[in-house]
Point group: C2
Chain length 247, copies 2
C-alpha cells in the first residue's frame, strides 16, 4: 500500500508519524490552515494521509508539544494562535523579585529602515546590505522603564511593518507578525551578557552611565526555522531578574 505521506515526502527514511508531522507543519506554515482554525479530526486526517489514527495522534501530540497546535478534549485540534499572554509566557523571561512574571508595557520610540551590517546579516542569515526595519522602543514594568531595545526585521519578510512612534504597543511583536504577515515565531535563541550601560541606554532606563545592565541578543525563527527577527535588549536587573528553568 502506498501512503500519501510517502508520496509527498520523498525517499529519505522517516517514520510515518514524522512525515505526517512534517506535512501538517508545512500546511500550517504555508497558511493552508490558518491560526485559530480547527483541523480535521484524527480519523479524517488518518484517511487523508492514508495512515492509521494512532499514527496521526502521535504526530499531533508532537506538534502540540511544540506548541504549533492546541488540542482540547471534546472540542478539537486548533492551529495555535499567538496571543499576548501566550507570547509573554513563552518568550518573555523577566520576573519580579517575588518570582511572579513581569507585565511589560511597550512604547515605540522610532522606526526607520537600515541596511544589514555584516554581523546582523550573518545572524539573520540574509545577504549583507539587506534592508531591515529597525524599531527602537522601551518597555515599562511596574511603572518604570526597564528594557530598552532595538528590533530588526528584514523588509522583505514584512514589507509594510509599521509602528506608531510614541504610541503604546498593545500587542506583542509576535502577535503582529502572525496576524499581519502569517509568520508564526516558534523558536528563539538568546545570548546574554552583562555590560556597562552606554549613555543612550542609561538615559532611557534612568540609570547612571556605566551601570551594569543585562544585554540580550535574540534571534527569532518561524515554524520552518527561518530567522525572522534580531533583537538587542538592555534590561535593568536591579528590580527584575531573568528566569531560566533547566530540566
Amino acid at each position: 500500500m502506498e501512503n500519501e505521506a510517502e508520496k509527498e515526502a520523498g525517499a529519505e527514511f522517516q517514520p510515518l508519524y514524522a512525515q505526517v508531522k512534517a506535512l501538517i507543519t508545512k500546511r500550517i506554515g504555508a497558511g493552508e490552515w490558518k491560526p485559530g482554525t480547527m483541523l480535521p479530526n484524527e480519523f479524517q486526517l488518518a484517511a487523508a494521509f492514508n495512515v492509521s489514527q494512532g499514527t496521526v495522534r502521535k504526530a499531533l501530540m508532537a506538534l502540540e508539544a511544540e506548541r504549533l497546535i492546541v488540542r482540547r478534549q471534546g472540542r478539537g485540534t486548533y492551529v495555535a494562535r499567538h496571543t499576548s499572554e501566550r507570547t509573554l509566557f513563552h518568550f518573555f523571561r523577566m520576573v519580579g523579585m517575588d518570582d511572579r512574571p513581569a507585565e511589560p508595557i511597550s512604547r515605540a520610540l522610532s522606526q526607520k529602515t537600515v541596511t544589514a551590517t555584516r554581523e546582523f546579516a550573518a545572524r539573520l542569515e540574509v545577504p549583507r546590505g539587506t534592508p531591515l526595519h529597525c524599531i527602537t522602543r522601551y518597555r515599562i514594568m511596574n511603572g518604570a522603564p526597564a528594557i530598552f531595545e532595538r528590533i530588526y526585521v528584514p523588509v522583505r519578510c514584512m514589507p509594510d511593518l509599521a509602528v506608531e512612534p510614541g504610541s503604546e504597543m498593545l500587542d506583542e511583536m509576535y502577535v503582529i507578525y502572525q496576524e499581519r504577515f502569517g509568520t508564526t515565531i516558534a523558536h528563539a535563541s538568546e545570548r546574554l551578557a552583562s555590560v556597562a550601560a552606554t549613555d543612550e541606554v542609561a538615559r532611557q532606563l534612568g540609570l547612571a552611565g556605566g551601570s551594569p545592565v543585562l544585554q540580550i541578543f535574540r534571534v527569532a525563527r518561524d515554524v520552518n526555522r527561518v530567522a525572522v527577527e534580531l533583537r538587542i535588549s538592555f534590561c535593568r536587573t536591579d528590580l527584575f531578574r531573568y528566569a531560566v528553568e533547566l530540566n
Copy 2:
C-alpha cells in the same frame, strides 16, 4: 481487574501510564534501581504492574523525555547516569563567542560549614539556621578564570561532602552528588542579574572593581523536586555568553 499501579498509588485519579511513571520514578529515587542499571524490559514491567506493554511504553517514553532513563534500541532501558559531559550539556549554559560550548575547569578555593540565613533557608526550603556546606571555587575557561561561585548544600543531605581546597575538581558537583550520595539532580531554576563586581569577585576574575558581571542564583532539585543545592555564580561575559533556547 485490580492493577498493581492502582493498589500502590491510592485513590486520586491518574492515568495508568502516569501512575506507572510515578512508581518507576519512586523506585529510582529510592535507589532500588541505581544509575547505570538496566530496567526489566517492557513486557516484564507490564506484567509487574499488571498493565499492557503499551502503557509501560508511554511511561518509559515520558521518563526518557525527562532524562531519568536512557533507552537504546536493541540494548534495553537504563537508569540515567550523570557524567560530566551530560551535566555540562544540560546544566551549563556558557558558550564562547562562536557559540561553541565552553569547557570549564573547576578549582576549589575553600570549604566550610555555615548556617542558613533567612534568605538561603527560604530558597533551599529548610529551617533557618540549618547547617550548610559552603564550597567556594572558580572555573577556568580557555585558560582564564571566568566564573567565581559559592555552592551551598544542606549538611543533612550530604553529610561527608568534602572537596580538596586548591585541587582541580575532575567531576562536576552533580556527578559527585549522584555517585557519592545517590542524589540525582533533575531540575534547576536560575535567576540572572547584571551586577557590578565586588572587590572579591573582581580580584578572583582578574577584572577591575565594579566591572559588570553576570550573577546567577541557582536552586537545583532532585528527582522528587526537593531542593538540594543553592549556587551563586559570578561570570565574566566579555569572552563568553549565557545561552538560552526558547521553544
